[in-house]
């Protein structure tokens, strides 16, 4: 705020190369069995594809902001990462099954709905200023091919 004596900013501490200053993995999703009270699987989410200037994409995970969504068929959909993808994981094993490219950062919670007999997964790809992902006003829907 202009004129205020103090200000606040938040973000991910990055090296000059554009990578986080903490050791990887930089983003992890996990499944916790509430019957056992234990983490039954753990999976990195995200790559450095859109972080490092050389475009290399090792599966390091990325800092992320966003929530997962689970379907009744056992799929976990989550965006959140600093590379612009929506991903699907197997809820039982945590294995990454699919990813779809987004036009901007997917820092939002996906949703799923049926329309005209077809199931869609929708996410608002708007980006996030704290993460520095691409910001746009885009709503993206994915569906299985006919």
């Amino acid at each position: 705020m202009q004129g205020a004596r103090y200000g606040m900013t938040r973000g991910v501490m990055m090296s000059p190369l554009g990578l986080p200053c903490t050791p990887p993995p930089w983003g992890v999703i996990a499944g916790i069995s509430l019957n056992m009270g234990e983490i039954v699987w753990r999976q990195t989410i995200g790559t450095s594809q859109d972080l490092a200037p050389d475009g290399l994409a090792p599966k390091t995970g990325t800092p992320n902001i966003g929530d997962p969504m689970i379907t009744s068929s056992g799929l976990v959909f989550i965006g959140a990462t600093m590379d612009d993808y929506l991903r699907a994981f197997d809820v039982s094993t945590g294995r990454e099954l699919w990813k779809g490219r987004l036009p901007a950062g997917g820092q939002a919670t996906p949703m799923s709905s049926e329309y005209d007999g077809r199931q869609y997964v929708v996410i608002l790809a708007g980006g996030h200023s704290s993460l520095g992902t691409k910001q746009r006003y885009t709503l993206v829907a994915f569906a299985l091919p006919d």
Binding site: C21, P23, G27, G31, I70, V76
Partner: protein
Amino acid sequence: MKITPLRTISLAFVAFVAVSFLGGSGVWSVLGLAPDLTIEGEAPIVRPVPNGAGEAWASYGGDKGGGATWGSTAYDPARNLLVVNMSSIGAFVKLTQKTGE
């Protein structure tokens, strides 16, 4: 330019410092020299209440953690499994507390 052992060592040192500076601690991690940032501790596991037919959703996906957090959850009632975005800061809390059931 003649390659001497001193020049080789100097170049290697400069390259190492430059790569470390540019790549952050990811380089140290690759070399196995990064510190372990795992935090040993306990965190409560709050069992989400699945929304039954006809009930209003108190929160999206039955998530009681609050949506606008750096790391949130979704609940799968069929498998009694909580999917957690453990997020981003390089340190992970080891969940050890049982549900008591």
